[in-house]
């Protein structure tokens, strides 16, 4: 059974921070097409605040996720603050105090995170939001482990589904958030939140997969 260790969180978190900071402009550009062009700025503000004031390389994955979530939730405001904030905090709670994180645990983390966003944001699949990346990714991961796929395989499935999910938002009409103002005119461009969510999931999976090798007995 593969797993990675809670105490290996540093590298996952570092990569995640780098990903957001690196894509700040790109995400804002996407948001600019049908939103107000600040999605990258908003996320960058939160992740940078976390990096500079709260991030401790000694912290395990759970504690870092909790701190990250708390900074986003408390200090970013808007909708993204509480949505991503809750997402990370709820994922953290699932692994609090655990030594090892296996595919079943990771699946639960995902479930908790997705549920938090759904409860808080009240959006549905197809509304052109982060959920259009998140729900297919979560589903793909779940199916993979139901089909007894290895952790790393399941993560690859998640990656593919997230990418597909993100791309699917291009043809959607926005139903919630700022872009819903545009109705039909919101069609034809990617959703900014779905794009950032895909980046987050890709980065996490890419960080975790190499960690799994070390313990892979399957």
């Amino acid at each position: 059974m593969s797993y990675f260790l809670n105490k290996q969180g540093e590298i996952i978190i570092r990569n995640l921070i780098d990903t957001i900071i690196k894509n700040k402009e790109y995400l804002s550009e996407i948001d600019g097409a049908i939103g107000d062009g600040d999605h990258g700025i908003n996320l960058n503000k939160g992740f940078t605040k976390f990096k500079n004031n709260k991030f401790n390389p000694e912290d395990d994955f759970s504690i870092s996720l909790e701190k990250l979530g708390s900074v986003l939730m408390m200090e970013i405001g808007g909708s993204m603050g509480p949505l991503y904030g809750n997402f990370f905090m709820k994922m953290s709670q699932e692994i609090k105090g655990k030594e090892k994180i296996d595919k079943k645990t990771f699946g639960k983390m995902l479930n908790e995170g997705v549920e938090a966003i759904q409860i808080l944001g009240n959006a549905s699949l197809g509304d052109k939001t982060i959920l259009d990346t998140l729900i297919p990714a979560q589903k793909a991961f779940k199916e993979a482990i139901n089909n007894k796929k290895k952790f790393s395989e399941a993560l690859k499935g998640l990656k593919e589904a997230a990418e597909r999910g993100k791309n699917s938002t291009k043809e959607m009409v926005a139903k919630v958030g700022r872009a819903s103002r545009l109705g039909e005119r919101s069609r034809g461009v990617l959703d900014a939140g779905a794009t950032s969510c895909n980046l987050i999931l890709q980065s996490m999976a890419d960080s975790i997969i190499p960690l799994l090798k070390e313990f892979d007995t399957n």
Partner: protein, 334 residues
């Protein structure tokens, strides 16, 4: 973009600095730069009144901090909800041990951040109850009132809630009064132009020349329909009819009227829009107890107006009569 600003990313900070400097007789800053409070808050023995929301709606929200109205406000970026921490700190600034009534609008971000803040306040022993304004009849059908946005009716909700708190009402009594106020309140907006978030630098959306958008929201949320630009009298009729049909307001009702510009509307035009309203109401047997005209709840530099009616009973009249002193709501005493 012809605007009076410095760094477009700092408009909220800059505005708050200017605001505190000018209104030091009314407000003070707090440890949280995104929270302002009434200089006398928390007031012993009084339920705290808190609100908050994105910036760009001046006088809302900080303009209603003051005597007999709001005790503390959480301030967000332009058109973006304040943080949960700002709401939490506003609760703390307003709480005198009798609990806090958080009276705010029904926007996704605000709902989420208030929810988080309340959870945290609870763990710190502060009791917070909420009323969520949903006076905008254009934002959802009547059968889904819980989905409707709060617009300028919030101002009357704060005035009523604030007065009830000053009268010594318990948290539940304050919440009930504010809830009654908003239950009795309906609004509708008409937008004639878009507005520009300074940090974005281009109009948020578009209304073609010669058209108007009926039912537009305070951030440019889509309305019910885009029609040809009508005369002021026709606009008045359209707005009055949409509002009174919804509650409905009926014969012998006594109401408060609030007609607010959206930011770039010359005051002259608000009076032109108002001209027919008393007669339209009279025709339906509805009488005006009080009317307020001015910029009460705006959307940056949007051109247009919102019309709000609140149906009054003896309690609401009594509460409405309590004079408030804030930047946005100033009432002369003898």
């Amino acid at each position: 973009m012809q605007r009076i600003i410095n760094d477009p990313d700092n408009v909220v900070e800059d505005m708050l600095k200017g605001y505190v400097k000018n209104h030091s007789d009314l407000v003070s800053s707090t440890d949280n730069p995104r929270v302002l409070k009434y200089k006398s808050a928390p007031i012993d023995g009084k339920v705290g009144i808190v609100t908050g929301g994105g910036s760009g709606h001046k006088p809302a929200f900080i303009g209603y901090i003051g005597k007999n109205m709001v005790d503390a406000v959480a301030v967000g970026e332009v058109f973006s909800s304040p943080t949960a921490k700002a709401f939490l700190d506003a609760f703390k600034a307003a709480d005198a041990g009798k609990g806090v009534a958080c009276l705010y609008g029904n926007y996704a971000g605000d709902n989420m951040n208030v929810k988080m803040a309340i959870q945290m306040a609870k763990s710190e022993g502060i009791e917070v109850k909420t009323v969520v304004a949903n006076d905008d009849v254009a934002s959802a059908p009547k059968t889904e009132r819980e989905k409707r946005r709060g617009v300028a009716g919030e101002v009357l909700m704060w005035k009523i809630g604030g007065a009830k708190a000053v009268q010594g009402g318990s948290l539940d009594e304050v919440i009930n009064a504010a809830q009654k106020a908003i239950n009795n309140t309906r609004s509708i907006g008409i937008g004639l132009t878009s507005c520009t978030i300074p940090a974005v630098g281009k109009p948020n959306f578009e209304i073609p020349e010669g058209k108007m958008e009926v039912g537009i929201g305070h951030h440019g949320e889509p309305g019910i329909e885009v029609t040809d630009l009508k005369s002021a009298d026709e606009m008045a009729k359209l707005m009055v009819n949409k509002i009174i049909a919804d509650l409905p307001f009926i014969e012998n009702d006594e109401i408060a009227v609030l007609l607010s510009g959206l930011g770039a509307t010359p005051a002259m035009e608000l009076y032109i829009l108002y001209k027919e309203i008393p007669d339209l109401l009279k025709d339906k047997g509805i009488s005006i107890y009080k009317s307020y005209i001015g910029d009460y709840f705006t959307s940056l530099d949007m051109m247009g107006a919102t019309l709000t009616f609140m149906k009054l009973d003896e309690e609401l009249k009594d509460l409405l009569d309590m004079r408030a002193n804030s930047m946005g709501f100033k009432e002369f005493g003898e």
